[in-house]
């Protein structure tokens, strides 16, 4: 299995990946807490972007409502923790299960009725919106009043209950990001990956070849939803308060997918690169605005929009593919 995953990966790419991992592993020891909090955001977006990429990049199903899975995952684990005192390591499974069920439900309805493309994307937005308003009126999680997790003192880290300092969350996120990366590589190099490729590129041809298109699309949705839910659990325990208005909002879904699109859809490293570029861009921009004393609300976002526009116009496949070429990391067939 390992040899399969390493197949065709140039030596240089392996070395660079190893180097990156090493840098990320020692980063918390050398950077200040502010940079650490930015790195946490980078990893969070890299992870959720990777999860989204399974559905869009691998299987070709555009979801614009992934905040649904983040939110459901976050709320499930957080509510179980606040109501019953059951820690997140047990709650995670509930989160994943509920999220996968949501994904399967949406997928079942859509794919059964032959809904695809733009219509599917709108259906995902619609479900996320529906859930947002629903959670606003869900008394068990305190509706729009917000769910607050009890915050104990941070004197010591308690990994069993995911309570502790940011550095603990950093390593937790790093671990799931690495695992997601490996898992996706494993998926892509296996039979499933080839089926997805066929479905993404030529759905009709895939069908005639005897691939059960419905089943493999459902599988993509389920995997993507489950992975995203795990990101949601992290979100809940890192921020310790959840509001439906924020976690299910459409802008959350969009935030989440910008990374992989800018980085490069369908590639494994694209979501990671995209998350890094976008987060650093956003932070760097506000830094510059402050330094220049040019503090007009909106200016930063306009510049951000222009950057996005330029990338999408001039680098249609994202930043990673051309960069990969430049670095000489093209995988050999």
């Amino acid at each position: 299995m390992i040899s399969r995953m390493l197949d065709g990966v140039p030596r240089r790419a392996r070395a660079l990946l190893g180097l990156l991992l090493a840098v990320l592993l020692i980063a918390p020891l050398v950077v200040n807490p502010y940079i650490l909090s930015i790195l946490i955001l980078v990893l969070y977006f890299a992870y959720t972007g990777q999860a989204w990429n399974v559905m869009m990049g691998f299987a070709g199903q555009l979801s614009l409502g992934h905040s649904l899975y983040v939110g459901v995952g976050a709320y499930a684990a957080a509510a179980i923790y606040t109501h019953y005192g059951i820690g997140p390591w047990a709650g995670i499974w509930a989160s994943i299960a509920i999220s996968v069920l949501c994904g399967l439900f949406i997928g079942f309805l859509a794919f059964r009725f032959g809904i695809s493309g733009v219509y599917f994307a709108l259906l995902t937005i619609a479900f996320a919106e529906f859930t947002r308003v629903g959670f606003d009126h869900f008394p068990w999680v305190n509706g729009s009043g917000g769910l607050f997790l009890p915050v104990e003192e941070y004197a010591s880290n308690d990994p069993l209950n995911l309570r502790g300092a940011p550095v603990m969350f950093y390593y937790f996120l790093l671990a799931i990001t690495v695992l997601a990366f490996l898992f996706c590589r494993w998926l892509l190099t296996g039979r499933i990956g080839y089926y997805w490729l066929a479905i993404r590129e030529e759905p009709e041809a895939a069908q005639t070849l005897g691939i059960n298109v419905f089943r493999y699309k459902m599988l993509a949705v389920a995997i993507s939803a489950g992975m995203t839910a795990l990101g949601g659990v992290f979100y809940a325990f890192y921020y310790n308060n959840l509001f439906p208005e924020q976690i299910f909002s459409m802008s959350r879904s969009i935030e989440l997918i910008l990374g992989p699109i800018i980085g490069g859809i369908g590639s494994l490293f694209g979501p990671i690169l995209g998350a890094f570029v976008l987060t650093v861009l956003a932070e760097g921009l506000s830094e510059i605005m402050v330094t220049l004393g040019y503090d007009i609300p909106g200016f930063k976002q306009v510049f951000y929009g222009i950057c996005l526009l330029l990338v999408i116009v001039y680098l249609p496949h994202g930043i990673w593919p051309p960069l990969r070429k430049r670095l000489g990391l093209e995988s050999k067939p």
Binding site: V23, I26, A27, L29, V30, V31, N32, P33, Y34, I35, L36, S37, I38, L39, L41, V133, D136, H137, N142, G143, S144, G145, G146, F148, P150, V151, E152, E153, Y154, A165, P166, Y239, N240, N241, F243, E245, Q246, V280, L281, E283, G284, L285, S286, E287, I288, T291, L292, D295, P297, G298, K300, Q301, F303
Partner: protein, 410 residues
């Protein structure tokens, strides 16, 4: 030219971040003793709460000049950060301010953002003074570094409801039926919970015949108002934000609904500049029971003078007042602690006792949870298209005018 400069600087910034990642950044948080106090201010100056964050900022911006007038040191530094009305950004900005040496944090107008900042403050041992945020949970977490000089939603509700009785007594109009309309967001739901919990115990003379919750993103309240009007209630008790407050009154005029009293138990909307600007004469006679600046306080008068001089077209209201006080509290604690150490500052904050200040009520003190319990509400009525204190009588600026006159006779 500007663009070029920006890009170069941006490249430099990116390179710097990359360098930091590579590990060249020194790991140190300078917390020297007895230096100039650095105050990190976090406010939503862009995003959907921008109007309010900017109003708060004005209260912060006049402190540097004003505080020495009250015998407090003036050589403190304000470090501003924009939370962009977003919880993630609030949290990373708080980390950033602490990292750049902020000794105290102030902010953040919104409960979600304040809760996120509170965690950073607690972790880093940096005191945090909340200017505005009503969710009671924030001071129920056992935090040692978090202080709130703003009433919690239950406090707001209790003060607001008690004042209602005084209003009924003073005006001689006691409604038997009330319709309660509230925006269904974090603040609105906290208020709604407070009201339904407290109504039975407070022995109010009225009955709430209908509760109508509406979406914070509502662009149109025609159905809600039609429903409220159909109840025939004598009083409307709204919990709004600013935009929906305007929608609400406009729709009431259109549908010719004229309850005897419109009285908010303690929510924004009616007393804001935009309300008067947009609705003109229809803004009059609305009542809000809310914490407010004490027009009789000498401190308020001085601050008010400075504010009107600096911001000619803006209104001095509670956002400005509470933000001003937050800085005042921090600087006062620093003056007593004579240190910028987090623990020393927090201890000094705990023993805060400021008698002369801006907002109406007792002295500013903090209980064991870090909550100021001495903030009262006053009854504000819109008269001559501006908010005037009408109750309690000892600080009143004008007389209560009820019932609401007909829309068509204005």
């Amino acid at each position: 030219m500007t663009v070029k400069l920006t890009r170069r600087q941006f490249a430099a910034g990116t390179a710097a971040s990359a360098a930091l990642l590579a590990g060249t950044a020194p790991f140190n948080i300078v917390r020297a003793q007895g230096k100039k106090l650095k105050i990190g201010v976090l406010l939503p100056r862009s995003g959907f709460e921008a109007q309010l964050g900017i109003a708060c900022q004005r209260g912060i911006d006049i402190t540097q000049k004003m505080l020495p007038a009250f015998g407090l040191p003036g050589d403190f530094e304000i470090m501003n950060a924009d939370t962009e009305s977003n919880v993630d950004v609030a949290r990373s900005r708080a980390e950033k301010l602490v990292n750049e040496g902020a000794h105290v944090l102030i902010g953040a107008f919104d409960s979600g953002q304040s809760a996120a900042i509170a965690q950073v403050a607690e972790q880093k041992g940096v005191p945090y003074v909340i200017n505005i945020a009503a969710a009671p949970q924030i001071t129920e977490q056992g935090y040692k570094y978090v202080f709130r000089n703003f009433p919690t939603a239950p406090m707001l509700v209790r003060n607001g409801l008690v004042l209602m009785k005084s209003v009924f007594e003073k005006s001689g109009i006691t409604p038997k039926t009330v319709v309660f309309m509230h925006v269904n967001d974090t603040f609105g739901q906290a208020m709604q919970k407070g009201i339904s919990a407290m109504l039975p115990s407070l022995d109010m003379p009225f009955k709430v015949v209908e509760t109508i919750a509406y979406d914070p993103q509502a662009k149109d309240l025609s159905v809600e108002v039609a429903k409220a009007k159909a109840t025939g209630a004598e009083m409307l008790m709204p919990v709004t934000r600013i935009n929906d407050a305007i929608l609400l009154v406009r729709e009431m005029v259109k549908q010719r609904w004229e309850p005897k009293i419109v009285m908010s138990p303690g929510a924004p909307g009616f007393y804001e500049n935009q309300f008067y600007r947009t609705l003109g004469k229809f803004s009059n006679y609305m009542i809000t029971n809310v914490p407010w600046y004490n027009p009789r306080s000498a401190v308020t008068q001085k601050v008010l003078d400075e504010f009107t001089k600096k911001y000619k077209n803006e209104m001095f209201e509670l956002n400005v007042g509470f933000s001003f006080e937050a800085v005042m509290i921090a600087v006062d604690a620093f003056a007593r602690a004579k240190s910028t150490d987090g623990k020393a500052l927090a201890d000094a904050l705990r023993s805060t006792n400021i008698k002369e200040h801006v907002i109406a009520g007792g002295p500013i003190t903090f209980d064991a949870k870090g909550q100021n319990p001495n903030i009262i509400s006053v009854t504000l009525q819109n008269l001559d298209q501006r908010p005037k204190v009408v109750l309690p009588l000892d600080i009143a600026e004008d007389n209560l005018a009820l019932p609401l006159p007909s829309w068509s006779k204005r």
